[in-house]
């Protein structure tokens, strides 16, 4: 009889534990979120002066690094617990999927296709495609004036194609390996214009001596730089958006831009964050 009784108690206890476990599991979230992490691996660019470059010491510097550090700070991750890695446009969806990086701040414009494949927070900045010319060249006032001009075309980017194909402006494309190279050739009069997002132009303009080049203040696109997160991390996305809102409200965004670029020709930054993509 004692054995029966003990067995009954064990069965009841086991069932009670089962109830508790089921109740607990049912309330548990499935996706791990960047909002809960103590350390973060962040993908940034390493070849865009002013935006993201690698220093000789191997660390990363630039506007995107600053923004990422600010946002991570708001997520409760201190600078010491951050690790930056270089990431290239073709790789970062895969890197996010494999969990090699937690967040990506890499000058990537938000597109409808992108939003289907990863969760996108931000934009943290709305860049505008602009034109960089020699300071003494007054013949180029807006994108239409590029007709017949020699325009730098960097391998793997669409900026020059956008002007020539989408806007039907018959500029003469001149291939170049990088934007830094474009800037040098522009100053050396081997080219008439370089077109890219304003932050990229401001960054490379700073690499050319004696303000020999200027940005034409006639932006003609809106490029919304998004933050990549693992697909489904809605909570993390909301937390990042909140951090970006604070970054604009507090004036930190403005400070970062002024310190990083300080170049005339950049659009004014307001105290309101750009329209977010939404964390669906």
């Amino acid at each position: 009889m004692r054995a029966t009784r003990d067995a009954a108690i064990v069965v009841i206890a086991a069932l009670a534990v089962l109830v508790a476990v089921v109740a607990y599991r049912a309330g548990d979230a499935a996706v791990s979120s960047v909002a809960d992490k103590d350390t973060l691996v962040i993908g940034v660019e390493d070849d865009k002066p002013g935006l993201g470059t690698r220093t000789p010491a191997g660390t990363f510097t630039g506007f995107e690094v600053d923004v990422a550090t600010y946002v991570a700070g708001r997520l409760g991750v201190s600078e010491g617990a951050l690790r930056f890695v270089a990431i290239h446009p073709g790789d970062w969806e895969r890197a996010l999927r494999r969990g090699e990086v937690d967040l990506v701040f890499a000058g990537y414009p938000i597109t409808p296709q992108l939003a289907d494949r990863v969760t996108v927070a931000g934009p943290y900045y709305v860049a505008h495609q602009s034109i960089l010319v020699r300071a003494d060249d007054k013949s180029i006032q807006n994108v239409r004036d590029l007709r017949g001009k020699r325009l730098c075309q960097v391998a793997g980017t669409r900026a020059a194609d956008h002007i020539i194909e989408d806007l039907d402006v018959a500029a003469v494309p001149v291939p170049a390996p990088s934007y830094a190279d474009c800037a040098q050739r522009l100053a050396g009069k081997d080219l008439d214009a370089v077109s890219a997002d304003d932050l990229i132009l401001a960054g490379i303009a700073a690499t050319v001596s004696d303000s020999a080049v200027v940005i034409v203040n006639a932006p003609f696109t809106d490029e919304r730089y998004g933050v990549g997160l693992q697909k489904g991390d809605i909570r993390g996305c909301a937390a990042v958006n909140r951090a970006i809102t604070e970054m604009y409200q507090s004036g930190a965004a403005n400070t970062m831009l002024t310190q990083g670029f300080g170049s005339p020709g950049l659009s004014r930054v307001t105290g309101t964050a750009p329209s977010f993509e939404g964390c669906a």
Partner: protein, 499 residues
């Protein structure tokens, strides 16, 4: 006391112990069901009445602002500045005294007709202010969100002033339709920068925040309701097992084949368990239906505002040719977010759109476009299950969107040919040049109908589900009392034998 009651070495002690366990398990079943139902009810309330409504109202902020932007752009484009600046109330007051003396209203030059666009602007401004207050309420003390609300409210005041400055400069110089003076355009740009870079993003993000709050509450409540379902089944199973054990033990000890009261109680628990499971899963399903409807209504109202803003971008394209390429690009970006096609040029978008829409018209399973309407097409297909009638309203909306884009093509062709005045006339309504184009209005009306339809479905789902639940507030305790009474009735006489 407990020790005496449950002296497990004695037969009555064991019977009492099992009875208490059975009662506890039944009580557990009732409690988890009640909690699950309460959670579901709260989730439905959030979607149908409380926060859901506020979020929809908050979305009105974005809609109102885009409308204000459009009115201002069109007035400047069509040279109605004088009507815009007209203050009839002020004029009435000035003339009040002389009118009394002569008994007739003086025919004064000061009397003016306020432009309909200005009247609409004032109405929408009031909506914007109300909606900002709704957003503030929803922010629930969150300083970051309140900061955004404050920025929007402050910006609204500043926007009024900048618009006024542009209108005054536009009024000073006679200008042909579609070609306001450069100084007025410069002022207008200043006002537009405030609208498009601060007011609209702030309003848009507030709507997103509100939607995120509702989404989080929904996920939470729905998970709770589903967990309640599992818990109810486990608790019910446990109660049945204990009652069966009690039945067997009594049969073995007292040499009876069946204890009728206990058997009925067991059947009662079984029925209650099944009912709880079915009820809670139905509630979880209703919540999902209501949430889908809520999301659709919100997405479409966002699409509506983006469409209005797109029309304003076309107005800017005509008004400010110096920045035409940028406004063109913004127009395309907005069209792409409403209905995405894999192109990078507006001309290509126009060229591709007709064919894609016709294909959808022929066969609703083929929705080869993305954006808000791609998502809506998928939801419609899910819900319609192949039924032609269910997708009719959405197909009609798409054809109105197609018509709007065809008009856009004509406007741009006129502009490209250098006929700026004709392009400005084509941008406005052909019957009444003070109104936005009738294709835009027809398209917006179609959207409004669909939004109202989704909201109605959500509200009805919520109300039906809530009505289905009301009876359970007394059914659950009653069921507990009946089952408990049956158990006690089944066990009591056996225990008496030991007195």
């Amino acid at each position: 006391m407990a020790r005496r009651l449950f002296r497990l070495r004695t037969v009555p002690g064991r019977v009492r112990m099992l009875t208490a366990c059975a009662l506890l398990a039944v009580g557990g079943l009732i409690s988890v069901t009640a909690v699950g139902l309460w959670q579901a009810r709260d989730g439905l309330r959030t979607l149908g009445t409380a926060d859901g409504r506020t979020v929809i109202a908050g979305a009105g902020l974005y809609g109102a602002l885009t409308d204000m932007d459009l009115q201002v752009t069109n007035v400047l484009l069509t040279g109605q500045e004088a009507g815009w600046l007209c203050e009839p109330e002020a004029a009435d007051q000035d003339q009040a005294a002389p009118a009394d003396e002569t008994g007739q209203a003086p025919q004064d030059d000061a009397a003016c007709d306020r432009a309909p666009a200005r009247v609409l602007y004032e109405i929408r401004r009031e909506t914007a202010q109300q909606a900002a207050l709704a957003a503030a309420r929803l922010a629930d003390g969150d300083p970051v969100r309140l900061g955004t609300v404050r920025a929007v409210l402050d910006g609204l005041h500043q926007y009024d002033q900048r618009v006024r400055a542009a209108m005054e400069l536009g009024q000073q110089a006679e200008h042909p339709l579609g070609m306001p003076p450069a100084a007025a355009v410069a002022r207008y740009r200043f006002a537009t920068a405030l609208m498009t870079e601060e007011l609209l993003p702030g309003a848009y993000n507030l709507t997103l925040d509100g939607q995120a709050s509702v989404h989080a509450a929904y996920e939470d409540r729905r998970a709770a309701a589903r967990a309640g379902m599992v818990q109810a089944v486990v608790a019910g199973g446990l109660a049945i097992a204990i009652l069966a054990g009690l039945q067997i033990y009594l049969g073995f000890r007292f040499r009876r084949v069946l204890n009728p009261a206990l058997a009925v109680a067991t059947l009662g628990v079984l029925a209650l368990t099944l009912t709880s499971g079915v009820l809670l899963s139905a509630e979880a399903r209703d919540m999902r239906v209501a949430k889908v409807g809520f999301d659709q209504a919100l997405a479409l109202s966002r699409a509506q505002s983006i469409g209005t803003s797109m029309d304003a971008d076309r107005g800017r394209f005509l008004l400010d040719p110096g920045n035409a390429d940028r406004y063109d690009q913004l127009y395309l970006d907005k069209a792409q977010s409403i209905l995405y096609l894999p192109v990078t040029k507006l001309a290509a978008y126009h060229a591709l759109l007709g064919g894609r829409l016709d294909r959808y018209g022929d066969d609703s399973r083929v929705a080869d476009f993305g954006g808000f309407y791609g998502a809506e097409a998928r939801t419609v297909a899910d819900r319609a299950n192949g039924a032609q009638a269910a997708r009719e309203p959405f197909a009609a909306l798409l054809s109105r969107y197609g018509r709007y884009q065809r008009t856009d093509r004509q406007v741009r062709e006129l502009a490209a040919a250098g006929r700026r005045t004709d392009a400005a006339i084509a941008h406005m309504d052909p019957d009444d040049p003070t109104l936005a184009h009738r294709d835009l209005r027809a398209y917006n009306d179609g959207l409004s109908t669909l939004i109202t339809h989704h909201q109605y479905l959500t509200d009805r789902t919520v109300q039906d589900a809530q009505r289905a639940m009301t009876a359970w507030t007394w059914l659950l305790p009653a069921a507990f009392l009946v089952i408990a009474a049956l158990i006690v009735a089944g066990v009591g006489p056996r225990l008496k034998e030991y007195r």
